[in-house]
Point group: C2
């Protein structure tokens, strides 16, 4: 995703310095004119704004606040924009740390996946200092659209919005999967059923986009089970801190933990179908891992 997002910025005329823990991922960008650096600190030393997108909160911590991290190199008035889906509390900590050196940190997790990144139509949920957000907004507009870039408030609120997004998706995918299994066991034409129900009150992005892929048994990501488990774990931890019980989210997370235990942590999140098939000892069709 980082590669697509970065290439949009190059195309818009910005000069870029890039770093990846897997340098080969930078080759295509270097070809387009980006300069390769050998640490996040080095990227920051030659940049006004630094974007990060990695896997887990520990990675965010290291890449931004580690010894060779972004904040070690960022000049005063520099801005770091973390686009990883990560902990709201970490976003707050990093914003405070950045402020202490007269910089700013914006949390800006995205929704829309690989495709959204490639086609520059990501939804971006932003938290942080409003002036910093305003400063980076034109850059974000290279990755999303005017109406899909949302300023949500102080540091962490971008992450909290993304958590809300994931809570909605997690329970909905249970319904898509259970609906398809029910239809199959009831002897319905599952494809016709999917079509019949998707236009009305049962309709959703997940039914429309994942339903057909599930029926084709195409469980490639899209969005990795392993990353979704991380997102739901963060949401449950945050909810627990708030004193908020979310039984639907908890169930979803447990089913995904089972799916990973079954060996499908690298499937797309619509692979939840596999976990519920195994639970019920049935199969909608042939599953070929790709």
């Amino acid at each position: 995703m980082g590669q697509s997002m970065c290439s949009h910025l190059i195309k818009a005329g910005y000069s870029m310095t890039v770093y990846s823990r897997t340098p080969s991922k930078c080759a295509a960008l270097v070809e387009k004119g980006a300069v390769l650096a050998d640490s996040p600190r080095k990227v920051a030393e030659s940049s006004d704004v630094v974007f990060t997108i990695v896997g887990f909160p520990e990675d965010v911590q290291q890449v931004i606040a580690g010894t060779d991290g972004v904040l070690a190199g960022l000049k005063p008035e520099g801005i770091v924009v973390d686009m990883t889906t990560s902990k709201p509390s970490l976003a707050q900590e990093l914003a405070e740390k950045a402020a202490r050196q007269n910089c700013a940190a914006v949390d800006a997790p995205v929704s829309g996946g690989d495709v959204g990144a490639r086609e520059a139509r990501l939804a971006i949920f932003c938290g942080g200092d409003k002036a910093a957000f305003d400063a980076v907004r034109p850059l974000l507009c290279c990755m999303g659209r005017e109406d899909t870039i949302h300023y949500m408030g102080p540091p962490g609120l971008g992450q909290h919005t993304k958590m809300t997004n994931q809570i909605l998706i997690s329970t909905n995918i249970i319904g898509v999967t259970e609906g398809l299994l029910y239809a199959y066991k009831a002897g319905l034409d599952v494809e016709a059923t999917l079509k019949a129900v998707s236009g009305g009150a049962a309709g959703s992005w997940s039914v429309t986009n994942y339903g057909p892929r599930i029926l084709k048994r195409d469980f490639k990501p899209g969005f990795f089970v392993e990353h979704f488990i991380k997102d739901m774990r963060i949401a449950l931890e945050e909810a627990n801190k708030m004193g908020l019980a979310l039984p639907g989210l908890a169930l979803a997370q447990q089913l995904y933990v089972a799916l990973k235990a079954q060996g499908d942590g690298d499937a797309g999140i619509h692979g939840l179908t596999l976990a519920l098939e195994r639970l019920n000892n049935i199969q909608l069709g042939e599953y070929t891992k790709q």
Copy 2:
């Protein structure tokens, strides 16, 4: 709903005989030219096609197969179309019973609620003899649209399709509710969050239609909690017969049973918010029962 659906048929030029257990509900239809009968049997005696829409499977059983029911009066080659959301197994029994007297029964539950009925854009999921379906299709087209009327196969498959529809809705509404509560507790502007997440992968009919009503604390039905509990109970019973475990549906049904126990069986199904608010001892705003 029956009243709206019937008035579309009158408008299309069909002559109608009507019956309701609450005769006052027929007054508007009688004014439009319908003839009032004092039993379902009497309706059937003067009709080629009889439509039924009632509350629970026991009501369907009585109104179609009872002493003064539709089948007691229906002439050979008559068709009874039950539009109640009811048991697939009952739909099969009634179709067999109808066939024994050279009649046909079509199960044709609808989706789209009060509004869909009024605006003649119901989704209709049909099971039963194909020739009987073809015969009543023009009549159904007065209540829905060409592309929202679905023939799903033999008797009971209309009901099974509706169950699939309800399974999808039930888990999705948990997500909508939990997402809103999370956003609220996290200190987000809930309305802005709803807007930010509803356009992407978390989007659904329920988010778009119920989200704003929940924020206005307008929990009027729409679609009654009590009827939804019945639908989910049927779906769980059917799944149990099939040897199919559906943990998401089971959780949803239990939360709705709690909502009814709390005194809100007559709320709309988006009232699930109330149950999860009480569970968490919080409130998004003021709730005025209307």
